[in-house]
């Protein structure tokens, strides 16, 4: 894991760059748009800070660049290596689809198998397993690009994602505080 401060610095740099781009492109944005732009630039900056080494960051970037209106912003933030990153994220999407179809097949088979062995005795453990499964599903939906990860990689990705989110929140809050103080003065 990178030390958090360097992560924060990178994130800050890229985010501010993104913000500048946003404000320069559109003079008068509604609040909604502004919020979206800020969030988008923050997210992309955070993802790019990882340089697409993690799956969630790649997924984030690919999601962000799907939308045409955001594309320009994303490209600018990503900088020179944007093309390679995009290609990496595209490939991720493709193999996601493949994994998804495999998983559907596997699930249908396992459901049939599971019904056979249902009895009172094993209920406790199966309940626990079901709970865990449900929650991993929820977690998969939360973490970007988590739909096609194994359990182990999901946990790893979550780890990284939580770290980056934390850093992001810290930086954003400090920036907000700073701007507010400045504005007050």
């Amino acid at each position: 894991m990178r030390p958090p401060t360097s992560l924060k610095k990178e994130f800050l740099k890229k985010w501010i760059m993104g913000l500048q781009l946003c404000s320069s492109s559109k003079k008068e944005m509604s609040f909604l748009e502004r919020k979206k732009a800020i969030k988008l630039s923050a997210d992309v900056a955070m993802a790019s800070a990882r340089n697409a080494t993690t799956r969630w960051s790649r997924a984030l970037i690919s999601n962000a660049s799907k939308d045409d209106s955001n594309k320009g912003l994303v490209e600018c933030i990503l900088g020179p290596e944007s093309e390679s990153l995009k290609r990496a994220s595209m490939s991720l999407v493709l193999c996601n689809k493949r994994n998804r179809s495999k998983k559907i097949l596997r699930k249908s088979c396992s459901i049939r198998r599971a019904r056979k062995s249902s009895s009172q005795m094993v209920m406790a453990s199966s309940i626990a397993k079901r709970l865990v499964k449900k929650r991993t599903q929820v977690l998969k939906s939360l973490v970007p690009g988590g739909g096609s990860m194994s359990e182990f990689s999901l946990i790893e990705e979550t780890l990284d994602y939580i770290l980056s989110l934390r850093a992001q929140v810290d930086v954003m809050r400090h920036l907000a505080n700073a701007t507010e103080l400045l504005n007050r003065k």
């Binding site: 913000l19 509604s30 609040f31 909604l32 502004r34 919020k35 979206k36 800020i38 969030k39 923050a42 997210d43 056979k116 062995s117 009895s119 009172q120 005795m121 094993v122 209920m123 406790a124 453990s125 626990a128 709970l131 865990v132 449900k134 929650r135 991993t136 929820v138 977690l139 939360l142 973490v143 359990e151 182990f152 946990i155 790893e156 979550t158 780890l159 994602y161 939580i162 770290l163 989110l165 934390r166 992001q168 929140v169 810290d170 954003m172 809050r173 920036l175 907000a176 505080n177 701007t179 507010e180 504005n183």
Partner: protein, 511 residues
């Protein structure tokens, strides 16, 4: 459950040499002291003891006992040994009164007596099941149903303690085992033959699934219960039992356990290798206790260990992560991720270099797919409330957003009217510092909280605090010194995160 506990103690004391689980030892110690007297009485009632050969073992070995008083008791309670179908309780009780402090002697003597060529402790445990099985058979023959039931209890205890000692997750094993224990007597009393079928299936599954020691531990223990229950019902299998029990299953001790019921049912081949005399030790890799040597199970074990590592790393990141349970850990992680995402969202809405009106902000929140801010922060609900939480948040979302709309509009005009409107709804505005104080003192109930959406009251107020909208009775949100940045606090998070990065909060929460 007097007999049960006695049996338990008996089994425990017997199994101590082979399994040496500390728990059993302690249990044995406890019961041992308590039930000594009752055993003596019992001995009087049941003078008949099954196999003299079997009783020889404890006797000879009691000679070497260091506790003379126990020895005297033993000898006094050994009346005629000639009669066969006897109460299975007695030999176990004899053994039970044996001091627990000498497990090694016991194992040595017993194993020596029964299987001279095999000094392994594992065989000793195996022979217990053989003895038990033979007793079961005898009781079946004698048609003594109550005794059979007690024998079954014995077996259950045996299996239970085995499940307890079975390595990986003893809590799981014993938990599952105990549920099986409780349910089995019930099913016995019903006495339906369908149990046999089910048990057979379970044995199939149990033996096939014990590749992973964890699951196998549970499933096979259940299978053992079912197996013996079925054995009680099926009279025709009685003769098979004793012989089948003498199959050495080789491999791990579990394999032996699983092999016994499997052969009893005559349905499934033991996944170990069956056959042969009990005395021959197999030329197999002796796995560590509680773990199989199967490549599949090894791979699974590795995988599980990796996952456990990662979960530990996550535990340090996520607050409130002192849970040992995987499901609750996942719950906490999910909560935290949602919370962080919500924070990012709210922070991006804050006044980064410009004033903004509240109405667009509120409108924005409502437009985001039914207020996913609110929804996201509604994860402050309890672990069990996930599904319900979702539905509740969707229903309360609308009401919340409507309220917020109204309040925002009113606030623009006049704070007084806004306050009145809120009070009519049963909500109130309060400064965040007060909200914090209340939240820290209130214990957070485990009702699904729809909690926190951010209201940019500060923007309108132009003041230094943000005002959360709160219901009168319940409040939340950590403290905030005068900051007008919006962040969102979910209920449980607010209470849990002492050192949270969130310093300021504006929150709307409902009980």
């Amino acid at each position: 459950m007097q007999p049960c506990s006695r049996e338990m103690q008996a089994i425990n004391s017997l199994l101590n040499p082979s399994q040496i689980s500390l728990q059993d030892l302690q249990n044995g110690h406890h019961h041992h002291h308590h039930h000594q007297h009752q055993q003596q009485q019992q001995h009087q009632h049941h003078p008949q003891i099954p196999n003299p050969s079997q009783i020889q073992l404890p006797n000879t070995h009691f000679d070497s006992s260091s506790h003379d008083d126990f020895l005297e008791q033993m000898l006094s309670t050994l009346p005629s040994w000639s009669d066969l179908p006897a109460n299975p309780k007695s030999p176990w009780e004899l053994n039970a009164s044996n001091p627990i402090s000498m497990p090694s002697n016991k194992s040595r003597d017993l194993s020596d007596d029964t299987t001279p060529s095999n000094p392994d402790n594992v065989q000793f445990a195996f022979d217990e099941s053989a003895m038990l099985a033979s007793k079961l058979r005898q009781h079946q023959i004698s048609g003594n149903s109550s005794a059979a039931k007690s024998a079954l209890m014995l077996q259950q205890q045996l299996l239970l303690s085995r499940g307890v000692a079975m390595g990986r997750s003893p809590s799981n094993g014993s938990g599952a085992g105990e549920s099986g224990l409780l349910q089995l007597p019930l099913s016995l009393s019903n006495g339906d033959s369908c149990l046999v079928d089910r048990s057979q299936n379970d044995v199939v599954d149990g033996s096939s699934s014990f590749k992973s020691p964890n699951q196998g531990g549970d499933g096979s223990v259940q299978a053992l219960y079912n197996g013996f229950a079925g054995a009680l019902h099926g009279s025709g299998q009685a003769s098979n039992q004793a012989q089948n029990f003498h199959h050495p299953q080789g491999g791990s001790m579990q394999a032996q356990n699983y092999g016994a019921p499997a052969t009893v049912m005559n349905q499934t081949p033991a996944t170990g290798s069956a056959g042969g005399a009990p005395a021959q030790p197999r030329q197999r890799v002796r796995a560590r206790r509680g773990q199989a040597t199967d490549p599949h199970s090894i791979a699974e074990r590795l995988r599980r260990e990796r996952i456990a590592e990662r979960m530990k790393a996550l535990q340090e990141l996520v607050p409130n992560a002192n849970k040992t349970d995987k499901a609750s850990m996942l719950d906490e992680i999910i909560d935290y991720v949602k919370f962080l995402q919500l924070q990012v969202k709210v922070l991006s809405m804050s006044r980064l270099g410009g004033a903004a009106a509240v109405a667009p902000l509120v409108a924005d929140m409502s437009s985001e797919g039914g207020g996913d801010c609110i929804q996201a922060s509604g994860t402050s609900g309890p672990t069990g409330g996930r599904a319900t939480n979702g539905t509740q948040t969707t229903t309360s979302n609308d009401s919340l957003t409507v309220t917020e709309h109204q309040v925002a509009k009113l606030m623009e005009e006049d704070m007084g009217s806004a306050m009145q409107y809120l009070q009519g709804k049963g909500l109130c505005l309060m400064p965040i510092s007060l909200a914090t104080a209340i939240s820290t003192t209130t214990c957070h109930s485990r009702n699904p909280m729809v909690a926190a959406a951010a209201v940019a009251a500060s923007n309108i107020n132009n003041g230094s605090h943000t005002h959360p909208l709160l219901p009168n009775s319940n409040a939340d949100g950590p403290s905030s010194p005068s900051m007008s940045v919006l962040t969102v606090q979910s209920a449980t998070m607010g209470n849990g995160l002492a050192d949270a990065p969130v310093k300021d909060a504006a929150s709307v929460s409902k009980p």
